[in-house]
């Protein structure tokens, strides 16, 4: 399929139409009903969590948060292909993939509440923290790919970036490095049409992103990112390609960021309601649900019950994160060096002396009053 959908021919790989009807049954043969249902559950959970997180933010219970709304199918597909020993190199908008890799919502909440302990991913292996400096993480993915090969393992790296990130030098450097060394990296570009306010047509003059793979000498494919079966098929084939030692693959997942860039952003400044409604018709959950219903694998009743269960679970983990113990002074210092310099130790001691003074000073001030 990577050959069949040559990005130079400007093809977009899809299996489902906008209503969730199967356009090409030939591609569905290796996707089981169980996989479809599992994916939908995962997507529903992620969406429930995502929408609730935005409302927590509006209530002032969490700081800035980048919504995943509308991009769930991409993450669900990666979730099904990633093995526990594969590597996940995230940007910051791949919640479903993080959860599959072993992150908990509590971790995610802790991070966006402003505690680094949330990016430790305690329950996961082979999973880097989120990377806020755009596209910088892709070079780490290439390096991990190099190390995998060096150790003669058959692991694969799943690296994420957005459409804006493809303008950064690091994107090009990472693709080039990975391709020269045939490093096993699946580069997944979530082309969600916007980099904050910048529409995709202003980001690059090239016809999509997948076509950029050609110049780096690796396969690339443009796929409907809101079409779960198509995403699954493509990511699976890309991972096989990597595991066989054939080098990296570039996947352009065409999707739409239905939410804001982050909760600090106001999309009404740069896009129209009409455009948003157009993309609503291609919603990934709607399409997969229609498919499941047509196969008698899903009912609205089930969805109602499940959504309620999921909401309770999200809230339970959120409250757990909210009740996390206060951030100790030690945590500012403890993790910076394996071998903490003496001077840094002294800075902490001096600060503790100040805190003691402050405590007695506060008491003195109160007495005066």
């Amino acid at each position: 399929m990577l050959k069949e959908f040559d990005p130079i021919k400007k093809k977009l790989f899809r299996i489902l139409d906008d209503e969730g009807r199967i356009l090409n049954p030939g591609y569905m043969t290796e996707i089981s009903d169980d996989q479809l249902v599992a994916a939908y559950r995962g997507m529903l959970f992620a969406r429930t969590a995502d929408l609730m997180t935005v409302s927590y933010q509006r209530q002032g219970r969490i700081f800035t948060y980048p919504p995943n709304y509308g991009q769930e199918a991409i993450h669900a597909a990666a979730a099904q292909v990633m093995r526990p020993d594969d590597w996940l190199v995230p940007a910051f908008r791949e919640m479903g993939a993080w959860l599959a890799k072993g992150a908990t919502l509590k971790d995610i909440f802790l991070y966006f509440m402003g505690n680094e302990v949330g990016s430790k991913w305690s329950g996961a292996t082979h999973f880097l923290p989120m990377s806020v400096p755009i596209a910088s993480q892709l070079l780490h993915a290439a390096g991990i790919g190099y190390a995998i090969q060096y150790d003669k393992k058959d692991e694969t790296v799943f690296a994420f970036v957005g459409d804006g990130g493809t303008s950064e030098g690091d994107f090009h450097e990472a693709l080039n490095f990975a391709s020269v060394w045939k490093a096993p990296v699946v580069f997944i570009v979530q082309n969600n049409q916007f980099a904050i306010s910048m529409p995709f047509r202003m980001q690059t003059a090239s016809d999509g992103i997948a076509v950029k793979s050609v110049a780096y000498g690796m396969p690339g494919i443009r796929v409907d990112g809101n079409d779960f079966p198509a995403m699954l098929k493509v990511i699976r084939e890309a991972a096989d390609h990597c595991r066989k030692g054939n080098g990296p693959v570039l996947i352009e997942a065409v999707t739409y960021r239905k939410g804001a860039h982050t909760t600090s952003d106001d999309p009404t400044k740069y896009r129209t309601k009409e455009e948003e409604e157009l993309w609503d018709q291609k919603d990934p959950l709607k399409r997969l649900k229609n498919l499941l219903i047509s196969k008698n694998l899903w009912t609205e009743e089930e969805e109602t019950v499940l959504t309620r269960q999921y909401s309770e679970e999200v809230d339970r983990q959120f409250v757990e994160a909210e009740n996390y113990p206060p951030y100790p002074l030690d945590d500012v210092f403890s993790y910076l060096y394996a071998d903490m310099p003496q001077d840094l130790r002294k800075q902490k001691v001096e600060h503790e002396k100040f805190l003691q003074w402050k405590e007695s000073d506060v008491q003195k001030q109160e007495v005066k009053k």
């Binding site: 806020v132 400096p133 990130g165 980099a195």
Partner: protein
């Protein structure tokens, strides 16, 4: 301060047809902090525009535009996103004039919202002014009030040298001040004595000026007369004003958000010891951040410099 900066850009765009403003999201959206709001509508998308997402490209193209006679004012979206542009900043923007023996001036302003205290995500809260001040060929300016921001930015835009204009985003909207609608400029390289005093010189800039001023009632109560100096410009550094003040007070406390070691404070202390050694009655003191990464919001209170800490250190210095 946001409005004052916008006003400075507006005045200069109107006056100077060679000026262009660009960066990530500065056009249609008017910047993530709304500093460039309305400018694209007023001056068109050729003069105020959104660049593709690439900081190195933003600074590198500014070098080219400046060489060809334009006057670019570019924005780095957040302090933590400047680093991809370091090659262009250090290898070209700072050196082009020297390399071309004065043929290609670099009248470029790089605006950088910086500093902590806004409950931001990782890489959004740093105070790395010392890195920039250390690069020969660049000037580094940091305003502490809306009025200063306007005058200093106009001077920066009119300067034929590259200026890194660092904006303390914590006080972007926190300080209200009447700012003249007229065009005026404040010279780069001159510090401002905010209050005169006799016991201790307190040197600061940016958002820390407000914190220092908060200590004034308590200092007065403790019978301490402090002279506050707002550096305004990190490089060039106004050594004369500093030295003169310390010769009078005999004591110096430096306050900044930057990590302590190898920072602006180190340079200030060198200046004070070189220029006023025999006048010193106490070791010069830095009240600066730990040499650690800025913690995420839940831990940031440990890290931020507070008025209490400034008062405590001034007290210790005066009682030394």
């Amino acid at each position: 301060m946001v409005n004052a900066i916008n006003d400075a850009l507006d005045i200069k765009l109107k006056e100077d047809p060679s000026m262009v403003v660009y960066g990530e999201d500065v056009g249609v959206e008017g910047g993530v902090f709304r500093v460039t709001e309305g400018l694209q509508a007023k001056y068109g998308a050729r003069r105020v525009f959104d660049s593709p997402l690439a900081e190195s490209a933003i600074v590198g193209t500014a070098v080219g535009m400046a060489a060809a006679g334009l006057r670019p004012v570019v924005e780095m979206q957040f302090c933590g996103f400047v680093y991809p542009a370091f090659n262009q900043l250090i290898s070209h923007l700072a050196r082009m004039r020297n390399r071309s023996r004065g043929r290609f001036a670099m009248p470029v302003v790089v605006r950088i919202p910086y500093g902590g205290g806004i409950n931001a995500l990782e890489h959004h809260s740093e105070s790395m002014e010392a890195l920039y001040a250390h690069i020969p060929g660049l000037k580094v300016v940091i305003p502490s009030t809306p009025g200063d921001a306007k005058g200093l930015l106009i001077a920066a835009i009119e300067s034929d040298d590259p200026v890194l204009f660092m904006e303390p985003k914590r006080i972007y909207r926190a300080i209200k001040q009447e700012v003249s609608e007229e065009k005026y400029s404040i010279p780069i390289g001159k510090a401002k004595v905010l209050t005169t005093g006799t016991d201790v010189t307190v040197v600061a800039y940016g958002a820390m000026i407000r914190e220092v001023q908060r200590t004034l009632p308590r200092l007065k109560e403790a019978g301490i007369s402090a002279e506050i100096i707002d550096l305004r410009s990190i490089y060039p550094l106004d050594k004369e004003t500093l030295a003169e003040s310390v010769r009078k007070t005999g004591r110096m406390v430096f306050v900044a958000e930057e990590p302590t070691s190898f920072g602006v404070g180190s340079e200030i202390i060198s200046t004070v010891t070189e220029e006023a050694f025999l006048y010193l009655q106490a070791p010069p003191k830095r009240v600066t951040a730990f040499d650690t990464i800025v913690p995420l919001p839940k831990g940031e209170h440990h890290y931020l410099i507070t008025a209490d800490k400034i008062f405590y250190e001034i007290l210790k210095t005066v009682k030394f």
